[in-house]
């Protein structure tokens, strides 16, 4: 099963895509992905029910979040109300160690994203201040990153034994599915996504035209 683990909808301040249009686009363009995870900036969207759309288009539409830490942006999968209560998702000053600890404590998982980008990614921060214990996975293919930034992410993962995911970081419809993550088995909901990420065995894939 292939899921794009990083996408934004109009629920994000800089997102311009409606979820229904992502679904239409995936089917119309016959993209080789089985679904995507909405990782809205600095929030978790408890309200939206994408069940009917998922059914109509036969796609997995899962929800996560993208939070902002002192080591750059971090995707959080397996978000629950207790986790949202544990730290302020809206803050742009979260300590990464706190995000890692709380996600672990609440059965979720944190994945630093686009680590190769300056400031919003963890590579430069890690070089400056050292690694933060607890990181196990980083995003190695990001649809919005330059080739050199993805390369830096790969280097970081390789050097430190991190697993790698892929996600488009789509903010507009036509950018969905540029990168994704291939799982060996089915991923049907947020809980099985966390389980699949914990058990490893997945790989990042990209369809970006440039490197």
């Amino acid at each position: 099963m292939i899921l794009d683990l990083h996408a934004h909808s109009i629920k994000s301040d800089d997102g311009r895509a409606k979820v229904e249009n992502y679904c239409q686009w995936i089917r119309k363009k016959e993209l080789p992905i089985d679904g995507f995870v909405l990782t809205e900036h600095r929030q978790f969207d408890f309200e939206s029910d994408y069940g009917p759309l998922a059914k109509e288009f036969d796609l997995r539409i899962l929800k996560g979040s993208e939070v902002e830490t002192d080591y750059g942006h971090v995707l959080v999968f397996g978000v629950s109300q207790p986790l949202v209560d544990a730290f302020d998702f809206a803050s742009i000053r979260l300590p990464l160690h706190q995000v890692l600890e709380e996600t672990e404590r609440h059965g979720a998982i944190a994945v630093p994203c686009h680590p190769g980008r300056t400031r919003v990614g963890m590579c430069a921060h890690a070089e400056e201040r050292g690694l933060v214990p607890g990181v196990r996975i980083v995003e190695v293919y990001n649809g919005g990153s330059r080739g050199s930034e993805d390369a830096a992410a790969h280097d970081l993962a390789e050097k430190n034994g991190y697993l790698g995911t892929g996600g488009s970081d789509a903010h507009i419809v036509s950018h969905i599915g540029r990168c994704a993550t291939r799982f060996p088995g089915p991923v049907d909901d947020e809980a099985t996504l966390v389980e699949a990420l914990r058990s490893g065995g997945f790989e990042a894939v990209t369809w970006k035209s440039t490197s």
């Binding site: 301040d13 600095r42 902002e68 750059g72 942006h73 742009i92 400031r119 919003v120």
Partner: protein, 144 residues
């Protein structure tokens, strides 16, 4: 400076008002330089001659931000949105009124940033003709 404080003190208050005129020659130069080919934008003799929808972005008020707005740093142009309500014709005289429409913060490639959305509403004969949202980003000054 806290974002909530900025919002409370500065949002939704008109800080500038200015009159503009859409000139045919400027419309044609704007249109042709940006790659427009439709006669209604590039040919002043066309019966429906009008400015391209984003022409209104060329109208600048006296100031980008309210006069007393805190000096957080140099505002850079992060984006523009234009909503066109009615066509702007050559000779149109427009009244532009500006206010701060939104303030928010996030982190980006340049570090911690404050986003300011300055909205100019352009009126012709009392009717709203266009809205221009200018998204400015101010990179936080390093501390320590």
């Amino acid at each position: 400076m806290e974002i909530d404080e900025l919002k409370r003190d500065w949002l939704d208050q008109d800080f500038d008002e200015m009159e503009f005129e859409a000139k045919a020659e400027e419309i044609v130069d704007f249109a042709t330089a940006s790659g427009e080919t439709a006669p209604r934008f590039v040919d002043p003799s066309h019966p429906d001659f009008q400015a391209p929808p984003t022409f209104v972005t060329r109208f600048h008020g006296r100031r980008l931000l309210p006069e007393e707005f805190p000096k957080l740093g140099l505002p850079l142009d992060a984006g523009k949105a234009v909503i066109q309500k009615r066509p702007i014709r050559a000779g149109s005289r427009l009244l532009g009124r500006s206010h701060l429409h939104d303030i928010y913060e996030k982190t980006g490639r340049s570090g911690r940033m404050v986003f300011l959305v300055s909205r100019m509403e352009l009126y012709e004969d009392g009717q709203l003709a266009s809205i221009v949202d200018s998204r400015m980003v101010i990179r936080e000054k390093p501390t320590g």
